[in-house]
């Protein structure tokens, strides 16, 4: 199996099988990136747009990234950055709409309907939308993307203990929700501050 570096070098050389090499590379990373982005933006369409932006940015910078063997850390950092930007943009727009309509400064609560049609059960959707971004992010990075806590700490810019504690809280809420049938109590609504 070719490494990320070999695939990207094939792509950049464009010796005829460049597009096929990129397709292999993309298929290797797309699912974990998508789920991670979704854990932050909590909106399917926004998550797909962010995924697209992340990959295009990667393509434009591929030549300058050097000959690293694994591009996943770069992809995750870029995905995180864009996801948080998109989240903040959504919040600003929501606040602006509410200011114009109702003069209500309540921050937007993620709507389970945003994840409708994703194939997730109602319980899982509820867990995702109700968890704070910091916790859902760590939950996905650990459970789906399968990073170590040290890698998660480096990516999110916190110390390893903080990453571990966030994961613990998130896992506890997931369990409580699923055990109770999707009716977990999520009182911590703090959104990511980047």
């Amino acid at each position: 199996m070719r490494t990320d570096r070999e695939l990207i070098q094939l792509y950049l050389r464009d010796a005829g099988d460049g597009e096929e090499a990129f397709r292999t590379f993309y298929w290797r990373h797309r699912q974990s990136l998508y789920v991670y982005i979704l854990s932050i933006v909590r909106h399917r369409e926004n998550a797909e747009e962010v995924l697209q932006e992340t990959l295009i940015t990667f393509l434009r910078h591929a030549r300058k990234l050097g000959s690293t063997e694994n591009y996943r850390p770069w992809l995750l950092r870029a995905a995180r950055s864009r996801s948080i930007d998109r989240l903040r943009k959504e919040e600003r727009e929501t606040r602006a709409r509410k200011l114009r309509a109702e003069r209500d400064l309540t921050p937007r609560v993620p709507d389970p309907a945003d994840l409708a049609g994703s194939g997730l059960s109602e319980e899982v959707v509820n867990v995702l939308v109700q968890l704070p971004v910091e916790q859902s992010e760590v939950l996905i990075l650990r459970g789906s993307v399968e990073l170590t806590f040290a890698q998660i700490a480096e990516l999110t810019g916190v110390c390893e203990n903080t990453a571990v504690s966030r994961y613990r809280y998130a896992v506890q809420k997931v369990r409580d929700t699923l055990i109770q049938g999707g009716k977990g109590d999520f009182t911590d609504r703090s959104h990511s501050r980047g």
């Binding site: 792509y11 950049l12 464009d14 460049g18 597009e19 990129f22 397709r23 993309y26 797309r30 699912q31 998508y34 789920v35 979704l38 998550a47 797909e48 995924l51 697209q52 990959l55 295009i56 393509l59 434009r60 030549r63 994703s118 194939g119 997730l120 059960s121 899982v124 867990v127 996905i140 459970g143 789906s144 571990v164 994961y167 613990r168 896992v171 506890q172 997931v174 369990r175 699923l178 055990i179």
Partner: protein, 244 residues
Amino acid sequence: MTSPIDPTPEDSRFFAELSALEPSSETDQRILEAAGFELGRQGGLERARRVIFQGSLWAAMVVVTVLVVLLAPESGPGIPGESSSPSDSASPRPGSESTTHPASSDSSSSDSVSSRRISPEVATRDSLAARVSASPGAVPTGEAPLAAGGVVPAAEAPDASWIPDDSVVLEAVELLSLELKGLRREASRLPPEERDLRLELESRIENTHRDLMDLRRSLRGHRAPADHPVPVSSTPTPTEDSQP
């Protein structure tokens, strides 16, 4: 005792559902198309950069060639090795009477020419002085030979075959012009009572002026100064017919 972060069945179910999440096929298609487009775009950029670079190189070479051609020193007829320092051109040199062949502009005669570099002023003055001194009644003094005399007979004139090249003549013209200017200035400052000195100065001015005119004519016609009679004064010149 298990750690709170150890996976449980609920966790496994949660993550199993999440692992089923995938972007839509439209998103996949858009991303793969963007990869193809980006490849073409970067290839085009590379080609454009290469073309611009090569074009710039060619343009730079053309500019440098044109500059070299325009700024190259003129390699026309001249005295090779001639120095441009003022001291060389102004200082008189012994034995400076010209005996070289006039067609000395090519480099094959450069050694003989450069070995006896003659300042143009001295060359002109010496040839004139030789003509004057050879004429009867000439006064053998420093400046006086130019003030006296008449036409130098052709037989006794310096080598008429020596024709200085244009650059030498130009330099002589310039020197004589300066001298003429200086003489006129000196004459204008003389008090009226210095009559003799004034007459001498006027004579020198006239002679210098004639020399200058001769040189200018030689520039135009490339005729040796010796071909022209050089009346240095207004007195009638003795000829064979008029001699007793």
